[in-house]
Amino acid sequence: MNPAATVVESLLPLPVLLPLLGAGAALVLAGRPTLQRWVSVGVLSAVVVVAAVLVAGAAERPRVVTVGSWPAPLGITLVADQLSTIMLLTSMSVTLLVLLYAIGQGTSDDDSRTPVSIFHPTYLVLAAGVANAFLSGDLFNLYVGFEVLLMASYVLLTLGGTRSRVRAGLTYVVVNVVSSLIFLAGIALVYAAVGTLNLAQISERMAAVPAGTQLTIHLVLLTAFGIKAAVFPLSAWLPDSYPTAAAPVTAVFAGLLTKVGVYSIIRTQTLLFPGDTVARDILMVAALLTMVIGALGAIAQDDIKRVLSFTLVSHIGYMIFGVALGTAAGVGAAVFYVVHHITVQATLFCVAGLVERVGGSTSTTRLAGLAAASPLLAVLYFVPAINLGGIPPLSGFVGKLGLIEAGVQDGSVLAWFLVGGAVLTSLLTLYAMAKVWVLAFWRPRDQLPVEHPEDAEVNDLDVADDPDRRYPVMIGAGRGRTGAESYSGALLGAPSAVADQEREVVALPRAMTAATGALVAVGLALTVFAGPLYSLTDRAAADLTARTPYVQAVFAQAVDDRVVR
């Protein structure tokens, strides 16, 4: 191997290693908040740079590192092909910007006394888990990556341990533990069927397995990843648990966690089980239902965070649509959509955090006149909102157009249904976004509806839980959780004093606004550079559907290692 090639390869483990080491350092520096912040920001910035180098490196050919120099089928391999590196760069950039937002939130709250020292280490562990999942060339290592990021997410979601967060956290933990166990069972089945867990080797051997066995294994894996990616009907946990967390936590979850599931589905569909028509049809129907039902749920909600959680679920459907098509055009559009959606969804949750701070609530029944009170905030909401809705020429439109084109090319009846569903969902999303805009931003303050006092009682007192009344929370059944959290305790989730309707509008905190603005700018940059980005994702998809580059790279590395020995 020539030295230039090994430079890229030696960088490959860093996106996993740096955040883990950083997490250790941040934990040690718990008593020095400023230093801790610098460590986190520094580590994540370095990871973003490394990810950018890897994107350039993987454009040439997939890069492979065998950990500990154990040759490919035996040891753990890290593989950086175009899909992994694109996902890695996008997710790490968003993670960094959301971290800056979180720091801004902490600084402007002057929370130097509160013990949020656990936030930074956990956040870095989350980043390490995500990076490990993206770079893993091995099914079991993917599982470990999942578990690392899930453990971190359990802690982040229940940060502060308030009643509502503990309740939401329990649902989240149990659902994800079950999905992990299903994944592990899937791993056992794969190993029993083909005797290996190396992704490249599985893809070579799986063709020889009887079709029925293949389908069983395939569906077990899709169920596990479907829960993590929140594909309908496995999505009910998401809108129930995300909105209770602190704004930066929700933003990073919305950006990353479901997308790791989508990434795994892309890998399963393209590398492990290409051309399985039964699973393909199931995925297409699931994609259609995810899109439409999610969007309808978003319309029924009053609370901005819940609206966003439902649009998050809804737009997962777009990605599954592209992946299910299985053509290079479909997968390419899906990868582009993932990049767009990670950015725009994280931005919107950050904006929701700002709205909560400025308006004292995220419920559209309590918010009004935000556009007049804070024009900058209105712009920050408006741009990503219409981007999500798919207004041309923004990146959301480009992604949806690519998906619809791929669907039309496919031409099957189901694909046409999905094309129709995609257009409908786009309109419904736009309607949900416009509803929030009209109620929270445009409506004059004196037009606020009269509140039912009993609702206010429920919403303001987090304690008003009634253990003996339980109804399944179905889509669209919720009324906004309007209890505003105090910002000094936002990260810790301390329940706050009553949010006064008459309260003065608070000025936008500078650091948080800057971080949100940067996220909006990234979203716009995706629009400006949509051409090059789209050709990049298309090439990634061509490699994915061809399969050979990935497999060859892994085995060439294995041969290389043997020669070295």
């Binding site: 309740r167 166990l181 056992a188 839980d465």
Partner: protein, 152 residues
Amino acid sequence: MSSSFLLLALIAILYTAGVYLLLDRSLTRVLLGVLVLGNATNLLVISAGGPFGAAALVGRAPESAMSDALVQALVLTAIVITLGVAAFLLSIIHRTWTLDREDDLTVDTEDRSVRRRLERDEQIDEDEFDTTGCEQTSDTDDERTSRAGAQA
């Protein structure tokens, strides 16, 4: 690949029991369900390694007579992960206990406001919500409040 029928039967029983426990409202039972399901999955992984053989130590037995060492390594990792998750679940259950003196899954405020809207006739289909028969149990509310008062 062959594997022991007894082991498969055990896995099936454990999965059944685990799912049953997981669906309970009591959080301790949910935790037990997670543990049982975890063990069922671990056994599944072990049985994926094929028939049992000698310990996988070089020199002790011919290679063909050894059992698969990889599945054991995988299960070891999985056990550690399950342990971590169980510890976290325990801590969160304890937290629920300190907050509510309650071992049950607490109710979302969303549900409550749906109920209120329904009582104000903002929603039409009352029967749909009344099938749980929860109406009769609302008296425990006061009981809880008084208990909480006594605690304080």
